[in-house]
Amino acid sequence: MSEENENSVYDILTKVNDNTWEVPGNFKPGMKVPGRILVSKTLLDLLEKDTIDQVANVACLPGIQKYSMAMPDAHPGYGFSIGGVAAFDKHEGVISPGGVGFDINCGVRLIRSNLTEGDVRPKLTELLDALFEAIPSGVGSKSRMKVNDAELGDIFVHGVQWAVKNGYGVQKDLDHCESNGMMPGADPSKVSIKARKRGRPQVGTLGSGNHFLEVQYVDKIYDEEAAEAFGLKEGQITFMIHCGSRGAGHQVCTDHLQVLTQASKKYKIALPDKQLACAPAQSEEAQDYFKAMICAANYAWVNRQVIMHWSREVFDSFFKAEHGDLGLDLVYDVAHNVAKLEKHIIDGEEKEVYVHRKGATRAFPAGHPEVPDDYRSIGQPVIIPGSMGTASYVLKGCPAAMELTFGSACHGAGRVMSRKSAKHELRGEEIQKELKAQGIIVRATQPSLIAEEAPEVYKSSSDVVDVVHNLGIATKVARVLPMGVVKG
């Protein structure tokens, strides 16, 4: 692969600095701004040409500001690349479901504890079995709770506030959620009956694919001050939840993609790729999608909240008698598939823009009003999950993010091998055995699902994190290592 890349990728891109490569504005006809791909030399060798094409395609959309960007974990998606970030003017720009993806508000949350690795290791197998039992996962998984239509409407509008009011969590969970677990502006009337039908039985389910619940321990602290503020210390047990809005979100995207496909024609927007269907930001079609997207985003926060609640119950049942209050506090919850109306400084002036992050994490610096009070002097926690069996990182958002990436960082490791090849080349049972030899236990509904998410199919999360760290977008606070994984 790299030899082919020597010829194509290097010919196209211009080096800006060691971690930034530019897609020139004349690479494709119709580009309104240049592209910027944030990768190191190591990651550039793994970059696929399709990713560059997709970055260039996004640069053709009306009202795009500064650059069409790809984060260091970028790989080809549909419409936008995964790892794509773009901001569009509130009035002259567009809103595109392709810039959010089907799994609206797929995201990650990290929960800390007062437990140590030594407390948990002897009971790890039983703990994993209990978590696997408590949290429905896999294709077509149904929740232990079924909400009615009125409750679903409340979830769409009130997000995590609904969950806390109904006993799934505590008030301070809200403070440590991006957008307080409730993006304002939801309109459930823009969500179809189909999306509602899919959403009702799935609140509190992991789903499938790369989604997971992982029991981990903090193995390294890079930034003592920030770690203390985030309540993290070496040897401490944490757990992480990665999932999104399930069928409800997929259906919202599917429904509105069809509307916006027609709207693109109506508003005569030249699309370099059909999956980039969009409409002027203030048009009825775009706003209808945005209001429905917010419903799905709020649903996703509730999904992760309910899974956290059930996981807390499992931890309590194992350790509370011996250890008392386990201090299972939410460190933070970040969305990595979402569009938001935000204020950013562009050419020296504050402007309102719709920032699309598709496989990218918000990374606001210290002092930003959306960073929770207790982290305000530090910066927003940026949670970067590793692939199964590898390290995850906690970073803090830094000022350079506002200058370079509209307050955004990477979201994970980024695939390099297809699911098809992974299943062909790797055997789930063997990977499970190898991970066990490293002290990592995996629970999944199918062994083949372990193969398709094996560590080998992803880029190294540390290479990806080094890029945003070295650019000063988000700097390393702590590294956590997996002990046990419940795979979706």
């Binding site: 080809p76 089907f102 999956q275």
Partner: protein, 147 residues
């Protein structure tokens, strides 16, 4: 993925998702095979007993919209009917400048995890690199589904 061998469809390389080509002597058959290609990403359709069926109709402005709707509707029915489908049949497919439509019957059974071994979940159909082309032998459909 046993049906892949029979020339009805084949899977192509794609980093994050499932991309396939489906073939048919008629457009109807190519649509049916595209649906089977997508379903086999999730479950081996030959393990399904086709004991009950669901009928539906769809209409869309253009043929690519119809293909997107077709694959999306099957995913929707899979999830809400809690049924796994082993057979898909297009009863009627109309394509004209005024619009496109189809009526279809899906056959299968209620999901039973002791019989049906689920593989990768398909989240959604996409327009990514979608192609619907007339060939010397009939029709070829290329589609990518989000997994």
């Amino acid at each position: 993925m046993s049906s892949e061998m029979k020339g009805a469809f084949e899977y192509l390389e794609h980093t994050a998702d499932a991309k396939f080509r489906a073939y048919g002597t008629t457009l109807e058959q190519a649509f049916e095979n595209a649906a089977l290609a997508m379903l086999n990403v999730m479950v081996d359709t030959s393990s399904v007993t086709n004991s009950s069926s669901v009928d539906f109709e769809l209409s869309s402005p253009e043929i690519d919209n119809l293909l997107f709707d077709w694959l999306s509707e099957i995913l929707y029915l899979f999830e809400v009917e809690e049924m796994v489908f082993g057979s898909v049949e297009i009863n009627k497919l109309d394509v004209s400048d005024e619009g496109c439509s189809l009526s279809a019957t899906l056959s299968g059974e209620t999901i039973d995890h002791s019989i049906h071994v689920f593989d990768t979940e398909v989240k959604a159909a996409t327009y990514n690199e979608m192609r619907i082309e007339k060939t010397d032998d009939g029709w070829m459909i290329q589609a990518t589904v989000d997994t």
